[in-house]
Symmetry: C2
Subunit: 430 residues, 2 copies
């Protein structure tokens, strides 16, 4: 049995209960989050800047259902009251006119946008100085580095990120928090800096899958599951065996197998699902789709400010500029075939489970790790939830991905809630 | 036989030939366009602001393939050297950090972005003061009002617009210019203000379909047809009969029938294609898709600046805010079914032809006209080219749409080039 790591301390559901039961107030919760950031962020480095007092005062008086919930927002989302720099010196001090859609919708629901979190440059690869709160010598992952770290450190109960390759699920896994990449385009990406317009997906971080489901519902007005799964009876769980599993660390493989055993033990039917060739092919065309689109999306920055781009992003764009339209079109066709193959998998299983990363967070801050386990599902647009709780012998988290059919986000979250509860249950070693 | 109207005076292909043959220079062409704007725009009102001298000086020295081509850009596209106001007082004086992707790509090809053209508010319905150069008492259409008018008046050989309902094809029809709405997402929309993210499509205006094809190729590096169709032999042309054709004016029906006869006379096989029920249903769900997405896209503006919105946009958003996620999801499913039905139509015909608008440009500037003929193809994402040349008895243009299978933009442009040439041929009354 693998070790466990503790849940992140600030839980959205608990905070809202405390407010509802008059044990706390929105203003008190906002104040507490500010204090936690003041206490912890010097060593973590999750936040770039905090909201002005007047914004937080306004939020404190909200009567929306998320009043009292502080949110860290990745610095590729436009915010009207704070600079939005996309991790790039080209945007130093840039102040958008309007909030990004998801930011505006969260404010409308009463949330307090407490600050902007670090992002790799344009949500690509060049790392930030942010540290992993589970072990400061390790990367928190990227590109949503600050959002994952802010939740993991217990500074805020909710944070916004985005995923074009593996930028939500991977840092969630590395930092030991719940992460949610919804079905493609289910969350609006308007006002989020574009990197790749057929891949960019807005996502959330929270302490638990339950918190993710509640936040998603209150922000969008959609159903994100009921948490009604008392056990796994009736569920068909697919243990996904991909063509690139050979690169996954043994401890991470063990984590997925432990998750499978727990679900099976609670009544689910477990089957092994071998990756179809169409999905192996789809994974391998992610880079061509991303690179070609990024060159268009960042056309002006690339053309006029090449010298201000970091080495990793520069290399991505230099390569992207060599991709001909025909190669891109072929990659998009391969992706479309992969999308159909992914849907077909869910004819026989309800959800798939798979590693959220190759292993625990790598040592050092020079790289944010590898998106190999994530980019296929970003390309296909399937919803993915990272379930935290399992840990390597070093104590570093090992996240498990729950993947559902396109549009079945509620099911992914419900199974993730069940799995997270089972991992944390004392009788299971939690 | 219907009347003819003259082609817009500034032709991209002719200008590039003159430069190649040393009969002109980029600097001379830029200067000539400035003079034409100075001469004509006081009465037309197509331009909001012109580029600073240094931008045009830089463009004049470009060696790109579009050097000397002046471009009017709808004011929902970000430009780094000019304000970008989206037709809204909320964005008064707003200066983006970077160019929109299409603007940057055009500059990279050597084009001179000469100024920003009028747009209805956020590319919706509230009209601009722009007049139709074919008859100043009539609307130029919208939402890309200024771009269509600037080309029609011969001020510039190329202009950028966008279409969410009928905002490229309708004003192109009203103003008697060629208009191109590419397959959905073929042109990048990054840096273009979002109204509806599954509908918004970047598009072009020029004097001729030939000019559109050349501009599209030089900006994107893609194939947009060869113009090799000497006649219609081998082509299967579908005369599209929609469920809403009863609303089309008799003269417009006559224009489409004349286009059909011309193509048939040149050797094409003409068939009548009755609209399948799936496409009638798709058209009717356009408003739900657009309204729901617009409320998210303009969330911050709608929430904080409701009083600064025009009456038409305000009504669209007020209604959009009443649309539940389930209704939107159902509308998206209907759209997806429609998309497949549209593809099936092209199993038996190469292209469809249909009215580009209900009739000629309406009298007055209080409305930009109706998008009923266009919104189905925006929803399905099929490429559409407006072919100009035919005119009502009043002299006002009557545009014919050439619609092709998704991704067959080159074919749509090739057939449009053939049709435009036939309309203009003296033996056919041109």
């Amino acid at each position: 049995m693998l070790d466990r790591h503790p849940t992140a301390a600030a839980k959205l559901t608990d905070i809202l209960s405390a407010i509802t039961e008059n044990r706390s107030t929105p203003a008190a919760e906002i104040g507490a989050a500010r204090q936690r950031i003041a206490d912890s962020d010097a060593e973590v480095g999750a936040f770039l800047r905090l909201a002005p007092d007047e914004s937080l005062d306004e939020a404190a008086s909200s009567e929306g259902p998320l009043a009292g919930i502080t949110v860290g927002v990745k610095d590729i989302y436009d915010t009207r009251d704070m600079a939005t720099e996309h991790g790039s010196p080209i945007y130093r001090g840039h102040r958008p006119v309007a909030d990004a859609s998801l930011v505006s919708m969260a404010r409308l629901a009463g949330a307090a946008i407490i600050g902007k979190t670090t992002t790799t440059e344009f949500a690509s690869l060049d790392p930030t100085p942010t540290r992993n709160p589970r072990n400061l010598d390790h990367t928190p992952g990227g590109s949503s580095s600050g959002s994952a770290a802010a939740v993991a450190a217990g500074m805020v109960p909710l944070a916004f990120g985005s995923q074009t390759g593996g930028s939500v699920i991977r840092p969630a896994s590395f930092c030991g928090v719940a992460g949610f990449k919804p079905s493609f385009r289910l969350f609006p990406t308007i006002g989020m800096k574009t990197f790749s317009y057929t891949l960019d997906t807005a996502g959330l971080f929270a302490a638990t899958a339950q918190d993710l489901a509640l936040a998603a519902r209150l922000i969008t007005g959609r159903d994100f599951g009921t948490g009604s799964l008392a056990d796994g009876s009736g569920l068909r769980i697919g243990l996904y065996r991909s063509a690139v599993d050979g690169e996954v660390a043994a401890e991470m493989q063990a984590a997925v197998e432990e998750a499978a055993r727990l679900l099976e033990g609670s009544g689910a039917t477990l089957v092994t699902v071998e990756e179809p060739a169409a999905l192996t092919a789809a994974r391998s065309c992610h880079a061509a789709v991303q690179g070609f689109e990024a060159v268009m999306a960042l056309s002006d920055e690339f053309r006029r400010h090449r010298e201000k781009l970091g080495p990793d992003l520069g290399a991505v764009l230099d390569h992207g500029a060599t991709i001909e339209p025909a190669e891109y079109d072929e990659a998009r066709r391969t992706a479309r075939i992969g999308r159909k193959a992914a849907s077909a998998l869910f004819e026989t299983v309800d959800v798939l489970i798979a590693p959220s990363a190759l292993g625990p967070a790598p040592l050092g801050l020079a790289s944010t790790g590898d998106a190999l386990m994530n980019k296929l599902w970003t390309l296909t647009g399937n919803p993915v939830v990272n379930v935290p709780g399992l840990a390597a012998s070093t104590g570093l988290p090992l996240g498990v991905s729950v993947i559902a059919r396109f549009g079945r986000d509620a099911l992914a979250l419900d199974v993730a809630r069940l799995l997270q509860a089972m991992i944390a249950a004392p009788e299971n070693g939690g």
